[in-house]
Amino acid sequence: MAEKRRKKASPRLLMGNEAVVEAALAVGCTFFAGYPITPSTEIAELLARRLPQAGGTFIQMEDEIASLGAVIGASIAGAKAMTATSGPGFSLMQENIGYAIVAEVPCVIVNVMRGGPSSGLPTMPEQGDVMQARWGTHGDHLMIVLAASTVRDSFDVTVRAFNLAEKFRTPVIVLSDETVAHTREKVVLPEKDEVVVVERPRPQVPPEWYIPYEDTPSGVPAMARWGQGYRNHVTGLIHDIRGFPTQRPDEIAHFKSRLTRKIIQHIGEITWVEEYFLDSAEVAVVAYGSVFRSALSAVREARKAGVKAGLLKLVTLFPFPDEEIKRLAKKSSLIVVPELNQGQIAREVERAARGLCSVERLGRIDGRLIGPKEIIELLTEVSHA
């Protein structure tokens, strides 16, 4: 038999939102429920066409509360499920995000950030929802939040979001922004068989032995598909290992600490940061999302001008990469944090740096992307001071 020559994927012109869709399909997402909102709409539009073609389901719900409700239901029924929205819709989803955490339902929520608060600036970028992603739902909880910076990133980050959601049975939030979502650029996406796909843990025992919220070494209980005889009770109330509400302190503490443990003991796997020119850097920039692009350009230019600058890109925003920031703070005289808000990640960097170096905030809140020039000015100014 003649060997099939591997066809090399050809470059395409795609926007960030389109790459999110390609990723969702590549990783096996079969359900989307949502309510269209700028600047996330292309994700819903494209999946409305592509999901039915792939045997999946697209449903437009009456609002974002119902959207995430439908996503949670689909996931419990066995589907890989997602939704996409922007600030105002993300606010409406907060209650159900908490439900998905407590009921341990894997799902992916893409929030394409636009200017806010309220209806705000629908067609302009902002990174105003970083802390809403972390703390928007009530109660003491951990949250996995990833940020995408480029079109290719939008693909890789969405794939990772699904994989983390499935592996740890938890909602994962992808933060994109108007610039990332709507910038079209040339990109080569991996072939479907090159994409790593992780499935949720399934019970290895017969139905009569199944205990739905039983602890495991990883802290993640096996998740049975509904309709196959495995008994399960799903609730937002704090529950015992069989899924029924409990008020016993030992069961409450055990349940809540397991939710924390299943994330924290895998933090190395969850943390995704990228280093640029940091080996020889004295001053560092920490950036994420669309601002990363300006930061990379700025660091390149600053180095040409003789400033020993480096860049740490954060893809995982939460759990916050404390150790990586602490290490960076130890070897740097200064960390600059440019972002499209008034210091949401900068405050985290300040906390994690523990006073080991100075931290400069560079916030821009006028609806425009921070440009390389603003970052270069700050880098040169401070390093000459």
Binding site: P11, R12, L13, T38, P122, T123, T179, H182, T183, R184, E185, K186, S290, R293, S294, L296, S297, R300, L369, G371, P372
Partner: protein, 180 residues
């Protein structure tokens, strides 16, 4: 070298699609690096609209156009609004059907909208005509690339008239440059 092009006019003139076609021609067919962005109001039609395309031989970090190498103004509002963002010595292309006042003596004026209406038969092809002119004037994108991108991206059934507009744009630009 980084080359920044802005296509500007009003919502409904097809500027975003023209930007996509330009980016696809330069990025996919001509194999350069490109970044295409757009800015628009919350209106569906009317209101200022623009589409920026950055073309480079190197990977593009900052995706927005900040200092324009080339401005295409498809109406007066766009000219007035963006003229000051054009670099000194930058290429200025205006649609003389809709831009009545240009304070710039170096403006290259073409009646894109009139020609699109009278000679092509569809006014909306004016922006594609401007791309044809752009190819000849700037040399930053090939006609072969634009032709392929138009074929791939023109909405159902409009491929032919858009290709006609594209060629006409290249022709009138060559004629104007010959005279200069």
């Amino acid at each position: 070298m980084r080359y920044e092009i802005r296509l500007s006019g009003s919502g409904g003139q097809g500027l975003v699609l023209a930007g996509i076609i330009l980016a696809e021609a330069a990025g996919i067919h001509d194999a350069r690096f490109v970044a295409q962005t757009q800015s628009y109001g919350t209106e569906a039609r009317g209101g200022k609209s623009r589409s920026d395309v950055v073309i480079s031989d190197e990977e593009i970090d900052f995706p927005h156009a900040e200092s324009l190498d080339c401005l295409v103004a498809m109406n007066q509002d766009a000219f007035d609004g963006y003229y000051r963002e054009l670099k000194k010595g930058g290429v200025l292309v205006v649609d003389s059907t809709l831009v009545e006042q240009t304070v710039a003596p170096h403006a290259l004026e073409f009646p894109f909208t009139e020609l699109a209406r009278e000679k092509v038969g569809r006014e909306i092809t004016s922006t594609i005509m401007a791309l044809g002119a752009l190819s000849v004037i700037t040399g930053k994108v090939s006609m072969a690339g634009l032709t392929r991108a138009v074929k791939g991206r023109a909405p159902g059934g409009t491929g032919k008239i858009n290709l006609k507009a594209l060629k006409m744009g290249a022709k009138i630009a060559s004629e104007l440059l010959k005279d200069r």
